[in-house]
């Protein structure tokens, strides 16, 4: 154990090494040290064995009925999002189609098309900027600061 000072610096790193959370450089240093140091190697193997035992530990499951209840609630929230996506994309599709029909309509002059096109582009732009602002607020203000 005369190496203990050197080993001390590897003590915590062995935990990071086990979890695959080290930088490539540190990981190589630890790997080299483990090849040459029996003490650290056995301490690594023990941590590894302990981790495996904990991973295999059995804990009772949640009541099936309550699990189902919660998952159903969460799933309906998921459906809500899917519905919104469907509505918005349907709307966008109709808009694009209408725009195309309008564009190829030969009974209108170029000036008329230009003016209406400008109005639509303005509306869409406004909508997007509001949406962007809302998403940004949601991220910045509420996500982290709220006490859960």
């Amino acid at each position: 154990m005369h190496q203990s000072n050197n080993c001390q610096q590897f003590s915590e790193l062995i935990t990071g090494y086990l979890d695959g959370e080290l930088t490539q450089q540190d990981s190589q240093r630890v790997s080299l040290h483990l090849q040459s140091c029996e003490t650290c190697k056995s301490s690594f193997e023990e941590l590894q064995a302990m981790q495996k035992l904990i991973k295999q530990s059995k804990y009772q499951n949640m009541d099936e009925s309550q699990l189902e209840h919660i998952v159903n609630d969460l799933t309906s929230k998921k459906l809500e999002l899917i519905s919104w996506v469907a509505i918005v994309s349907g709307f966008v599709f109709v808009l694009v189609l209408a725009g195309y029909e309008f564009w190829i309509d030969t009974s209108l002059s170029g000036f008329e098309k230009f003016t209406v096109g400008l109005l639509i582009a303005g509306g869409v732009g406004l909508f997007l900027s509001v949406l962007r602002q809302r998403l940004k607020n949601r991220k910045n203000d509420k996500y982290k600061g709220v006490k859960l």
Binding site: E21, Q51, I54, K55, V71, D73
Partner: protein, 164 residues
């Protein structure tokens, strides 16, 4: 029910159980956490990747609330055991016995909450250091050292059992 959401919910229940130790409490915690997940404006969507660590965080905080409440009803204040920041002596050679499997759960339960939670988040639930930092609200840089101290403390708990 093999869906991702069922797995996350089941995992979150086990986390609550690992922290508060009482199945009835753990069920209540999950109920509360689900309501928050459905109603909180900051809740990530259940099908987004960020949902699991977020939900775990809610469950962890609710578990601490619950522990606090139990203590209060027993008339004593809830004082979270503060674990010293110093690296303690890390025992060598303890796990030579196959019987350790049956002791490890008991040993985990004896650890202070602060050590128990970080070990189960990593070793049982398999969260990354980044996710652990989010769940526990600590800097990512301190996850490794805290986890290492906790693992050494667990080894220490296992030592006398094996020597018997």
């Amino acid at each position: 029910m093999g869906s991702v959401l069922a797995d996350i919910t089941q995992g979150a229940f086990k986390l609550a159980l690992q922290l508060v130790k009482q199945p009835a409490e753990a069920h209540d915690i999950l109920q509360d956490a689900a309501i928050i997940a459905l109603s909180h404006p900051a809740a990530p969507h259940p099908n987004s990747g960020g949902f699991k660590p977020w939900f775990y965080k809610v469950v962890r905080n609710k578990s601490i609330d619950s522990l606090r409440k139990v203590k209060r009803s027993e008339g004593e204040p809830f004082i979270e055991e503060v674990v010293p920041d110093q690296v303690q002596h890390c025992p060598q050679r303890i796990l030579e016995n196959a019987q350790t499997q049956q002791y490890i759960k008991a040993a985990l339960e004896e650890l202070p909450l602060q050590q128990r939670e970080i070990i189960v988040l990593k070793d049982f639930h398999g969260l990354s250091y980044q996710d652990i930092a989010n769940v526990l609200d600590i800097p990512k840089g301190s996850v490794m050292s805290r986890l290492h101290r906790a693992r050494c403390a667990l080894k220490l708990k296992l030592m006398p059992i094996v020597e018997e």
